[in-house]
């Protein structure tokens, strides 16, 4: 069963003559452990798709299934709880809290979920270390570069151990080198740590790290490319996974 599945997912903003169809009956699926990129010109609906899949917004029509469970049927409180535990978000502008350190920012989702601070901090430190931020635990966001701030944001997205990471233009505010590093990191998060990633980007170099690309235009999926579809490459990835487990 796919981890994410959409059925006729549609989002219309406004009504009557001024109505804008942002998403037009999207049917797509994301397999567990897959790294999927969604590309398309601005206004094509790719961010709307990400927001609906993440339960940040409600569709006008259609459903989003997370492990077969209908997100759109959940009450707001239940949806929020599910989102906190199952889905990690990464945004273009990091959205870190300026007065908190890297460690405190990364631990935040666990603290909000009632985990004891010592435990939350230990876990956040672990993820920051894996993401190459071990020597910056006590820096505040304004003491970090853009790429480093995004690493903290990724650690925050992973700290509750969600299966699914949703990333909306995570390299959009970075120079190409830092952007490449973040993309390579997302690749590792998928390959080494087995997380499913849905990435929205307009940058071909970033999308090239994915296993598959969906191309969108005018609220529809117009094409799809499998990048890592060869049996050999998948077998290799599997072997590497087996070794790390």
């Amino acid at each position: 069963m796919p981890i994410i599945q959409t059925e006729n997912l549609t989002k219309i903003y406004g009504t009557g003559e001024t109505a804008v169809v942002a998403l037009d009956h999207i049917n797509m699926a994301v397999e567990k452990g897959e790294f999927l990129a969604v590309m398309g010109p601005s206004g094509c609906g790719k961010s709307t798709l990400l927001h609906l899949v993440g339960g940040l917004d409600r569709p006008t029509e259609g459903r989003v299934l997370l492990d077969g469970r209908d997100l759109t049927a959940l009450e707001d409180d239940n949806l929020a709880a599910l989102r906190r535990r199952r889905i990690g978000f990464v945004f273009q502008f990091y959205n870190l809290i300026p007065v908190l350190t890297a460690l405190e920012n990364a631990a935040l989702p666990l603290l909000l979920d009632g985990v004891r601070p010592a435990e939350a901090h230990r876990h956040a430190a672990e993820w920051l270390q894996r993401l190459g931020m071990g020597d910056r635990l006590h820096h505040r966001p304004d003491q970090l570069s853009g790429g480093q701030q995004q690493r903290v944001a990724i650690a925050r997205a992973l700290v509750a151990e969600p299966d699914l990471i949703l990333a909306d233009e995570p390299t959009g505010n970075l120079d190409s080198r830092a952007g490449d590093e973040i993309a390579a990191l997302l690749r590792r998060i998928s390959s080494e740590w087995g997380r499913t990633i849905l990435l929205v980007t307009h940058d071909p170099r970033i999308a090239a790290h994915a296993d598959r690309i969906l191309f969108m235009k005018d609220g529809r999926i117009i094409d799809e490319t499998r990048l890592a579809g060869t049996g050999e490459e998948q077998a290799q990835a599997l072997r590497e996974r087996m070794e790390t487990l």
Binding site: R187, P204, R205, A208, H209, F215, D223, T225, L227, A228
Partner: protein, 196 residues
């Protein structure tokens, strides 16, 4: 052309025999998968370089197997190499197969040009993915030259993809324009010059 001068450069570093040159060349450009040269090409090139006086045989290595002739660079060879260093290289931007395909697609009625572009885009993305993986696996502490080469490939593929987007965005406009025609030329044999 590049192989010829690369062999000169490798001989400028130290005298070597053909077998060694071939291995050294392939190592230099990132491995046999990147650029394979056949032994025959190496020996034929060495022969031509020797005839041109750019290299000379300086000895023979006999170790069990067949004799291996060792070559070194001559002063004329050193000069030719310097000249090559100080000459710019112009890439071949014409004779692009996809461009020809696109133009022919415009000619042939009923061609799904959007599909033609999509298929090309998919192919380029698969290439980009492959080189991106190689780039990630390469160690910039020890293989920086190769990493830079991969960066170049990635950047070119990226440019090709951006260009495809541009072509697709302007497809209808292109289709409205006349297809390029050969310039009209007078038929038959050229006429004798009129008397002055």
């Amino acid at each position: 052309m590049s192989v010829r001068y690369a062999l000169l450069g490798l001989l400028a570093q130290q005298p070597r025999h053909g077998y060694e040159l071939r291995a050294a060349f392939e190592a230099l450009v990132g491995g046999r998968d990147t650029w394979e040269v056949k032994p025959g090409q190496v020996y034929a090139t060495l022969e031509r370089l020797e005839e041109a006086g750019l290299i000379a045989e300086v000895g023979v290595e006999k170790e069990g197997g067949p004799e291996k002739r060792i070559y070194a660079l001559t002063p004329a060879g050193r000069e030719a190499l310097q000249e090559w260093f100080h000459t710019g290289v112009v890439g071949d931007h014409h004779r692009d197969e996809f461009f020809v395909k696109l133009m022919v697609g415009l000619l042939v009625e009923g061609t799904d040009l959007h599909r033609l572009i999509q298929v090309q885009r998919n192919t380029l993305y698969q290439e980009l993915h492959r080189f991106t993986r190689q780039r990630m696996e390469a160690d910039s502490q020890t293989e920086l030259a190769y990493v830079l080469f991969l960066d170049k490939v990635v950047m070119h593929l990226e440019a090709d993809l951006r260009w495809l987007d541009m072509v697709e965005a302007r497809l209808e406009e292109i289709q409205r324009q006349p297809t390029p025609q050969p310039e009209p030329k007078p038929r038959g044999r050229p006429r004798a010059k009129r008397e002055a």
